[in-house]
């Protein structure tokens, strides 16, 4: 049984210019102990989808879903207090900006022990012991001393680790890590990824890793979901995704990586992601797609089969070539 089930999650925001759909029918199942990565351009709704799941969006957001369940418990119908028990303890999140999610006015120790008090009801001595243990686990030197430090006294990498320590303090079954290493140097990034993988191995924790670093995806994820302009355009096992991408966006994204190209001029994707006011009528990727036909510009595609990574495309790519492609047009 999947640990997390998300079925057709849609999020729209009320904005000055009207309703804006930031997440459009996204589905995701996570098995216990699995590492799934969510990738996609900036603004494609990766963070918003996860914040919706955690019930952390402002009132301007409208969230709908066919199913949202954690451990078979329906998150849409459970009470607020039940939800609060799950979030932060069984299901935890590391947010994209560590400095905005740590409170600058409280010490690291206080912030760590508060979570433990709320969720695990430990006494003072137990909490302190556990806090030191956690800081040690995330590789912070001299943890006893750091308990009295304020966030601004620590480096970015250290704060990021404190965030992780807080997120894992109650041994969550699911950890959602939103760009956990983006602001960090590669050597620190390597340390943090190793730490997350260790937790996943030792405690059987499931991990959702949101990132736009395809290198990180290749080296850590088992499965990958690709998002574009709020939609999920492809879902595959990591090896399949890199060797045989089925959606033209995934293919173009991989081709534009400097390390996968031999020529000085990279095959780049022309143009930019559509915004609120220039959403195309048909396929959302069609204005930037090399294979787009009249059909693509006018009719929104439906998801292809499971074998084709559920690619949201009229002509899913197989071995680098579009299938069922009309003969008269040459891409």
């Amino acid at each position: 049984m999947p640990l997390l089930e998300i079925e057709n999650l849609t999020v729209s925001f009320q904005t000055a210019g009207g309703q804006f759909t930031a997440v459009d029918k996204v589905s995701l199942h996570i098995e216990p102990g699995e590492i799934v990565s969510v990738v996609g351009e900036s603004g494609s709704g990766k963070s918003v989808a996860m914040l919706a799941l955690m019930g952390l969006l402002p009132w301007t957001a409208t969230v709908t879903a066919d199913r949202l369940a954690f451990n078979n418990q329906d998150l849409k119908t459970i009470s607020k207090s039940e939800l609060r028990k799950i979030i932060g303890s069984k299901m935890a999140m590391i947010f994209q900006e560590p400095m905005t999610s740590l409170n600058p006015c409280f010490t690291i120790g206080f912030q760590l022990t508060e979570t433990l008090k709320i969720h695990l009801g430990m006494n003072r001595a137990e909490r302190k012991k556990r806090a030191i243990e956690l800081l040690e686990l995330v590789g912070i030197p001299e943890p006893r001393k750091r308990l009295t430090a304020f966030p601004h006294q620590l480096s970015g990498g250290m704060n990021q680790r404190v965030m992780i320590a807080m997120a894992i303090s109650c041994n969550p079954e699911l950890l959602i890590a939103d760009e956990p290493t983006t602001a960090l140097d590669v050597t620190i990034q390597a340390q943090i990824l190793e730490l997350l993988l260790n937790l996943q191995k030792k405690q059987g924790m499931s991990l959702v890793l949101i990132t736009h670093d395809m290198g990180v995806v290749a080296e850590t994820a088992e499965r990958v979901a690709v998002q574009y302009a709020g939609q999920q355009v492809e879902k595959q096992q990591v090896k399949g995704l890199f060797s045989n991408p089925h959606h033209p966006y995934t293919q173009a994204l991989l081709n534009s990586l400097p390390e996968r190209s031999n020529s000085k001029i990279l095959p780049s994707i022309a143009g930019v992601v559509p915004g609120q006011f220039d959403k195309p009528k048909g396929c959302l990727f069609s204005p930037r797609c090399d294979y787009a036909t009249t059909k693509c510009h006018t009719i929104p595609p439906t998801a292809a089969s499971e074998e084709l990574g559920k690619a949201l495309c009229h002509y899913p790519i197989v071995d680098g070539k579009p299938t069922n492609y009309p003969e008269e047009v040459n891409p």
Binding site: E41, S42, G139, P141, S155, G156, G157, M158, D185, V186, T187, I188, Q189, A190, Q191, L193, E194, H212, D213, M214, G215, V216, V217, A218, E219, V238, K239, L241, F242, S243, A252, L253, L254, S256, L257, P258, E259, R260, S261, K264, I265, L266, P267, S268, I269, A270, V272
Partner: protein
């Protein structure tokens, strides 16, 4: 002529005084502690290293935003440090910079056109019409459209703003462009567009680039020469081929092995460094990398190693890997 040395730095240093409150002596922070390198026409020198190792400091010295504490900087045949005001003014035009943040580097209240014309207004006797023509031509060169001339920065995407920043840097026909993390804030697909633009402009105008980045896959793509820095000092320099295929310094090797590779079929050994970058105010003794170094021995703790030739590279290490 391509390949001609256009900028040379010898033992460049930049120290900062840090006040530590009324009762403590001010400390000295060695942001850059002796860097020597040459920049050639039409080629790219990449500066890599972790946050705080002095990359942006180097950029500020090379673009003459700040004077060096010690060392010498030559641009063309001129020694910048002793140059007269008039000569310096001329040199300023030759070296331009593009900053990391495509959002912060443009004035939000200034139209793109005016923003591009500003360097011409300040530095040249060009008339209004000429300036406008030059700005519109430049917009075309960086892949934007003439109608963008009258728009404000907020109307552009991150990638477009970075194009504008590049356009602005090129307005005075510089010979050297310092690019401080020019693609770090961009999506992969937009990053590719900007890298292509930089490559095309370099070929067209024979530009010398000083390319600052912490993303080694980007550096591997764009650089001709690479300089790896650690705590204000170069620890390894060499051609791209040498540095990437035969890295000698343990720090270079750690950086390379920590860089994730977008290939799930590849399994690689990884050197995971322990600990954080030490404080530059009180750097470790001897080789400043020794507390994190997997190959550290006693001698590393006492005297700092000098840069010496090793294969095709210059390496500052007592225990470089040999090939």
């Amino acid at each position: 002529m391509s390949g001609e040395v256009i900028l040379e730095a010898v033992g460049l240093k930049r120290y900062y005084q840090i006040d530590r409150g009324a009762f403590k002596k001010p400390a000295v922070l060695k942001a850059l502690d002796g860097a020597s390198f040459k920049l050639k026409k039409g080629s790219t020198l990449a500066i890599v290293g972790e946050s705080g190792c002095g990359k942006s400091t180097m950029a500020r010295l090379v673009t003459m935003i700040e004077p060096p504490t010690a060392g010498q900087l030559n641009i063309g045949s001129e020694n910048v440090t002793n140059a007269s005001a008039a000569v310096r003014c001329n040199l300023h035009k030759k070296v331009q910079i593009v900053f990391q943040d495509p959002y912060g580097s443009l004035n939000p209240r200034q139209k793109i056109g005016n923003s591009l014309e500003e360097p011409l207004l300040v530095n040249t006797p060009m008339k209004k019409g000429e300036r406008r023509e030059a700005a519109q031509k430049m917009l075309g060169l960086v892949g934007l459209r003439p109608e963008h001339y009258n728009r404000y920065p907020h109307m552009f995407s991150g990638g477009q703003r970075q194009r504008i920043a590049v356009a602005r840097a090129l307005m005075l026909n510089p010979q050297i462009v310092v690019l401080d993390e020019p693609v770090s804030a961009l999506d992969v697909s937009i990053q590719a567009q900007i890298l292509n633009l930089l490559t095309q402009l370099q070929q067209r105008f024979d530009l010398a680039y000083m390319f600052i980045s912490h993303d080694l896959s980007v550096v591997k793509h764009i650089a001709d020469e690479v300089m790896v820095m650690y705590l204000g000092k170069p620890v390894e320099t060499g051609s791209r081929e040498e540095v990437f295929s035969k890295p000698h310094h343990p720090y270079t090797r750690a950086l390379l092995s920590a860089t994730p590779v977008a290939d799930p079929f590849r399994s690689k050994e990884r050197i995971v460094l322990r600990g954080e970058l030490p404080s530059p105010i009180s750097p470790p003794s001897g080789c400043t990398f020794h507390p994190r170094c997997p190959s550290m021995t006693e001698e590393c703790k006492y005297t700092a190693p000098e840069l010496v030739k090793k294969g095709g590279c210059m390496v500052a290490c007592y225990h470089p890997k040999t090939y």
